[in-house]
């Protein structure tokens, strides 16, 4: 018989589900409230974690203890390296030996940044050019090694991983013209998770030729940034102060300071998140409480009947908790999905996230990432369900104590 399956399943769960179905409007309101709250929670958590971990990873991956830039370019440098905003800033190359002389500095390398100009000079879309010194370089080398396994030759360029996609360089080994000089794009740099992903790399020697040709706005012997490694056990902050003290033309950013501006913005946003989540939680508890108070009164006689046919107080509580948990879990699941979706889709419209050089989801090794997301999801479901239970506990406790005879009679008399 077809009905038999549904009959065998009849139990507390079936009763709870029927009760949820009986007033679908009320159920929808509760589920939506919890879903919105959980979505907010998920979104806020993802947002915060992504931004801070992206900044941390990016600054670690650069592999330099100090960033030395022209005075006033401190923010530009960070914006380029972390947020991939195109920036140009220059200082004379003669600063380089002066940095090298400072105590504690172990090795230095420099890069020169140049924005391409779409039009006559170049046949690549607008991008940032990075010229690096192959002899001293320790920033690009590890990535280069992984991509083409050798140094970059004269007339060769390599594209950052994002640039490759953005510029539509489908074919490797293509010829490109950059500032009237022919370049062979020999490969794509592995993803670095920094602003380097959005640049096209060439050797300093090639850049010098471009500068000599006069087709770029750049002057001879200008560089943009010096990366420095310091001796073990030295405090980057103090070495940085030393550098700034000795060379007034530069500003220094330590690895730890990198992204501090972003993190400051983030902590303000976090306060707003925390405040709205807490307020949302309080409102939701109140909503659940109000609705379950109404439900408890409405069902007084039914509860009396159940008690009369053998339900104990704890049976009644369990039935209600089951109903509440179903609501909470359903709302939390929807909220988790909604929050994740919002995060994914809004990532592009929040400048703080959009400008981060790496797609936030590509940072971690996948299993760890999935584990983390699962934990966040589970925690959110626990919070959503917990809030539901917190709101419903009062009314449930009130109703379970009624003597069956009284609760039955009370509302039966009202009804008839």
């Amino acid at each position: 018989m077809t009905t038999h399956a549904s009959q065998t399943k009849f139990g507390k769960l079936a009763v709870a589900l029927r009760n949820l179905k009986r007033n679908s409007f009320r159920t929808t309101v509760l589920v939506s409230a919890i879903a919105i709250l959980v979505a907010l929670l998920i979104f806020a958590t993802f947002f915060t974690m992504s931004v801070s971990s992206t900044i941390e990873k990016a600054s670690n991956r650069l592999g330099a203890d100090l960033l030395i830039v022209p005075v006033g370019a401190r923010d530009f440098a960070q914006e380029f390296l972390l947020e991939s905003k195109q920036k140009s800033f220059y200082m004379p190359k003669e600063i380089l030996p002066r940095v090298r002389e400072i105590e504690g500095i172990e090795s230095v390398t420099h890069q020169t940044y140049l924005e391409t100009i779409t039009g006559l000079c170049c046949d690549v879309a607008q991008a940032q050019i990075i010229a690096f010194d192959q002899h001293s370089d320790f920033i690009v080398k590890p990535w280069l090694q992984n991509s083409i396994g050798r140094a970059l030759g004269p007339g060769e360029a390599i594209a950052g991983s994002e640039t490759y996609e953005n510029l539509g360089l489908e074919l490797l080994e293509v010829e490109k013209t950059i500032f009237n000089k022919r370049f062979k794009v020999v490969g794509v740099l592995e993803r670095t998770g920094t602003g380097l992903d959005n640049a096209i790399f060439m050797t300093e020697a090639d850049l010098e030729q471009i500068v000599a040709g006069g087709s770029s706005p750049l002057k001879q012997d200008q560089i943009s940034i010096i990366f420095a490694k310091i001796g073990r056990d030295l405090d980057p902050y103090h070495v940085g102060l030393d550098v700034e003290g000795n060379i007034i033309e530069v500003d220094v950013v330590t690895r730890r300071e990198m992204g501090s501006e972003l993190l400051r913005k983030l902590s303000d946003i976090n306060k707003i998140f925390v405040l709205s989540t807490v307020m949302g939680a309080i409102l939701t508890v109140f909503l659940v409480w109000a609705i379950f108070s109404a439900i408890a009164n409405e069902r007084a006689s039914e509860i009396g009947i159940m008690r009369a046919v053998g339900a104990s107080e704890s049976h009644i509580v369990r039935l209600f908790i089951l109903e509440v948990v179903l609501l909470g879990v359903l709302g939390s699941l929807i909220g988790t999905a909604l929050g994740t979706y919002l995060f994914m889709s809004l990532t592009k419209s929040f400048s703080l996230l959009r400008d981060l050089s790496v797609p936030v989801l590509s940072i971690r090794p996948l299993p760890a990432y999935l584990l983390q997301q699962t934990l966040i999801g589970a925690a959110s479901i626990a919070v959503g369900t917990g809030i539901c239970i917190a709101g419903a506990l009062g009314p449930i406790n009130r109703i379970k104590r009624l003597e069956p005879h009284v609760s039955m009679k009370g509302s039966l008399l009202c009804r008839r």
Binding site: T3, M306, V309, G310, A311, H405
Partner: protein, 225 residues
């Protein structure tokens, strides 16, 4: 062997500072297999009495000894189990859960019964068939007539095979034919399964068919044997 032994039972309701004595110093013995009718005017305390016997209302004083245990001393879990396993209750008013089908209402006491047993579905179907509700198994209470709802409540009272059925004006708003059917069923269950019955009724005809009769007036019980 006496099944239920009630001694010096009192119930005083307090409503807004005023005290109403609904049952006064009542003693009664129900033997196994009894078919007892309780008659009396409205407000004489009949519902109050069987509610206390059924464990859904705490007496103000007195004892109700069932199987050598005073049910007034049981805790909530024990008392609930007593209601679930030993008592079948038929209430004065419609008492089905509106969100459950006839079948599910019949099975409701099973939800609260400690595990075991698997033929409840078959039994529930049988009872509904016997009560003429074979085609109403999946109907909701709102789709049933008053008489049909009562019969579902009877099937529900029987599902856990109780030892004692407490029926509070079970045929109060039914037509004579249905009333006769139900009474026939009670007599049959009483005979074949040795289920004891306490039937609260207004009808002297029903009372006349019962083996024992009592009358309540103003909370006091008069045996009429």
């Amino acid at each position: 062997m006496s099944q239920v032994e009630i001694s010096s039972l009192n119930k005083v309701y307090t409503v807004g500072g005023e005290q109403i004595t609904a049952v006064h110093d009542l003693s009664l013995t129900i033997e196994k297999g009894d078919l007892l009718a309780v008659v009396g005017h409205s407000g004489s305390g009949k519902t109050t009495l069987i509610s206390m016997i059924g464990g859904i209302l705490k007496p103000t004083s007195g004892t109700i000894v069932v199987d050598s245990t005073d049910i007034c001393t049981l805790d909530d879990a024990q008392l609930s189990e007593y209601r679930n396993r030993k008592i079948g209750f038929m209430f004065q008013f419609a008492s089905l859960l509106p969100v459950l089908t006839a079948m599910e209402n019949v099975l409701l006491p099973r939800i609260f019964a400690p595990g075991g047993g698997s033929n409840h579905h078959r039994r529930a179907e049988e009872y509904l068939d016997v009560l003429g509700l074979a085609d109403k198994r999946h109907a909701f209470p709102g789709e049933l007539s008053g008489g049909q709802q009562r019969r579902v409540a009877i099937a529900r009272a029987l599902i856990n095979e109780p030892e004692l059925i407490l029926a509070d004006e079970p045929t109060g708003d039914l037509d004579e034919e249905t009333e006769a059917d139900i009474l026939r069923l009670f007599h049959q269950l009483n005979r074949e399964k040795e289920i004891s019955f306490v039937i609260v009724t207004h009808s002297s005809e029903i009372a006349a068919e019962c083996r024992k009769r009592c009358r309540m007036s103003h909370g006091v019980l008069e045996q009429e044997v």
